[in-house]
Symmetry: C2
Subunit: 270 residues, 2 copies
DNA sequence: TTTCTTGTTTCGCTGGCCGAAACGACGTTT
DNA sequence: AAACGTCGTTTCGGCCAGCGAAACAAGAAA
């Protein structure tokens, strides 16, 4: 154990600039808890008050953070809008998916989502909200696990073997009694997803939520995203399920086509 | 001049964490020049290559920056989407303005914009693009001057006296021959804007662009934003001007009303 | 009033950050 | 195919920027 460092004096985080890393952690924390004060944020990020104050001061000068009029609490600044909007505009995947998400949401009347994988997490990079007053809360840019939920499992099913292994061998947190927390069961589910080309997930992350998702491929056939919908299980009937599944599959294939994929959904060899 | 520091050894930027500041500068620079390499970004930000590399490394770990597949260039990461979307959601001004921008853009068929002032700049915090193929390029989160353009001048006209003085006494950069670069002329224009309650600006920032804007007030009557449209001057005729002006004024007042303003557009005493 | 709790400021130490320069891997040119 | 240029990456040691602790100020709550 101690000898781990002996081989080479190479720190896995050697190039990390810690003050910048802590500033970004603070910024992302603030995004999730707006209208917080210095002390509150210091506790949430486990930093000292003085550091938190200095970081907020620095971020404020760049417009990424803003003091509320009462001068006591902080919120994200308007300059953060630039980062989000430019990131969106610069992604071909997102811009071509947006009209498709609109169609999918219009025909199913449920939330339509586009997810990608980032290391061992999924991240929602685009969405269109359901018109229903009762709808699932979802937010762009949030991270989540790969082993639970429809879209996440699609991503995992088509991820490199090494990624799948790391997830399967890790702790498979159970969110509900429907969650898959058994490694073998997960492997079987992933195989099923590759065979069927889509997934229907019910009550895995929350007992009252369903989701349906299918893979999105780029020009070379590699799965780069998952397109799907989610909504309250109350709206999931036998007939609506068929409609939903058809809409998700059609739109996922349409999106793949727009990204240059010319093939047909072939059964992935496992 | 030299004695400015003598009074108190207080550095105006004393709380600034320089590495964080440079990291944010880098991030905002990357937002404006995607697909850049380390060397390119180092030059653009006037930092060393090593620092730029370390900052990118740090930002990448947080998902704010992403390496392109070819492993040579960098782009904004998907985590930046979170910052933008949360900033948008958390702003009551933006969320209530969005449907109004849609209406304004639909009726005028031009770009509809919402601007606020941030120190001596204006910043576009929401927009809805014109349906026309020929339209002005505008981006959310970009900064610009206060003395040129319709919306910016509305903001300046209603800014605190101290802000107006700082702008007027500064260098009034001329972008076209229509730009107002004379201090007295600017003061007169601002007075006119306060009297009329709106502004029509033609060819001030670009010879081929017009813009029409009006103030937006909060519950206390303070002007907190400017709502307006812009488009190519080719589409500005006598009849369309009247329609545009009416639409801008009506929607600006409607937005003010939704923000709790109960008064009527009164002439500001100058 | 007193007593918390907040945000802000100071201060001295030190270890993390920084620039310079070398390195290695491409791609391009001759 | 060899030489060159350019890019991203890595190393290194000095030194000062950034850090935590603690005092301070300013309100809010009791």
């Amino acid at each position: 154990m101690i000898s781990a460092k002996e081989e080479k004096n190479v720190d896995p985080a050697s190039y990390l600039v810690s003050s910048v890393d802590r500033a970004m952690h603070l910024l992302l924390t603030l995004a999730e808890m707006p209208d917080s004060g210095v002390t509150e944020l210091a506790e949430a990020t486990k930093n000292t008050k003085s550091l938190t104050f200095r970081l907020l001061f620095t971020l404020e000068r760049r417009g990424l953070v803003r003091k509320d009029p009462d001068r006591r609490t902080y919120t994200l600044g308007y300059r953060a809008l630039l980062l989000g909007d430019q990131s969106r505009r610069q992604s071909r995947l997102i811009t071509t998916a947006e009209p498709i998400l609109a169609d999918l949401s219009d025909t199913t009347r449920e939330n339509a989502l586009l997810l990608v994988r980032e290391d061992l997490n999924h991240i929602c990079i685009a969405m269109r909200a359901s018109p229903h007053p009762l709808r699932i809360f979802a937010a762009i840019g949030r991270l989540g696990p790969l082993h639970a939920g429809g879209g996440p499992k699609v991503l995992l099913a088509h991820a490199p073997a090494e990624v799948q292994e790391r997830v399967i061998s890790g702790a498979l947190e159970a969110f509900t009694e429907m969650s898959i927390s058994d490694a073998d069961a997960l492997v079987a589910t992933l195989k099923d997803i590759r065979a069927k080309g889509h997934v229907v997930s019910i009550g895995e992350l929350d007992p009252d939520i369903f989701s349906i998702a299918a893979p999105v491929r780029d020009h070379s056939g590699v799965v780069i995203a998952a397109l799907g919908i989610n909504g309250p299980t109350a709206r999931l009937t036998e007939t609506s399920l068929d409609q939903f599944r058809a809409a998700v599959l059609a739109n996922a294939d349409r999106l793949s086509g727009m990204l240059g994929w010319q093939g047909k959904t072939d059964v992935h060899p496992d």
